[in-house]
Amino acid sequence: MTDTIPVRVWRGGDAGAFQTFDVALRDNQTVLDIVTDIQRRQDPTLSYRFACRVGVCGSCAMTVNGVPRWTCRTHVAKVAAEGVLTLEPLRNLPRLKDLAVDMTPFFDKWQKAGGTFEGRKTRDDAVDPVKPGSRARKAADAAIECINCAVCYAACDVVDWDPDYLGPAALNRVWTLVNDRRHARRSDTLDKAAQSGGCGSCHSQGACMRHCPVGLSPTESIAGLKRALLFSLLGGRL
């Protein structure tokens, strides 16, 4: 007889309830395998989101036993020490249905934060050289690998408290732009980081850097923005 594990899964939108499924345990099983197993074998109406299954796309992020995670990179054996799995949609985003959230506010804030690169040159100009070893480029590189999975956004308490807070991912993106010497609107981008709900709202609780599946530190990026804004203010440029 195969061992099973009780899996409590959030069903419905904001108004909903947990439904428990018993799912067969297998070797090297990920939490995403569990969700897929439920949908294929027990309830085809279960809604969730995934694409690559190998930690590249970031779309399968959910709350697993209270912690935001990529379910495809989370082994059941490592998170179900108490013999039960509780799966909920990501925190801080509107719940669409079951385990799927509406990512619109997350991406809207990315835009509101000024996360769009704007170059100075046209395709007819020579390529602008970037020194990989420069301090600014190293700072940008340290933060550049974000894939917008929203795990940090779900982990952040300030996002929960302040609906206007831009969130760790958007501000992390802003930090990469501020450090990109090819970016034409550095000053405007920095101004946007100072807006209400910008980097000044961060309380440096560090949940974003603790939970980022890529190992980035939005806390560090936001600290960098605060520092850059202070120097900008002291230099009379703000």
């Binding site: 036993n65 440096s204 560090g206 560090e220 520092r227």
Partner: protein, 116 residues
Amino acid sequence: MIARHRRDRAYLAFLGHRISGIGLAVFLPLHFIVLAEVLSGEAALDSVLAFTAHPVVKAMEWLLLVLVCAHLIFGLRLLMLELRPWRGRGADRRGWILPGLILALAVGTLAMLGVV
């Protein structure tokens, strides 16, 4: 009970900084009220000061010292986090948090014992 996603030393530092700040904000008006008793004359001030010999007030004095020290340490940690570029391991200054708490408790206790 701290929710699982908050179980990190940095969250403890946040809580410590906030709670000590609120504690100090509560203390300061009381402190000014006591000082204002000077205006009412020596007897009025003495009667309030006599109240501070009460063991409960003494315990609160220890707490006050711990709060001041904790608030100072966590504030310095934030300044280090935000004003200095992060370099290498330990740049998140998580390593300051537990020693900072212990230092705050020690300073409060040593001060109450009359050592410092």
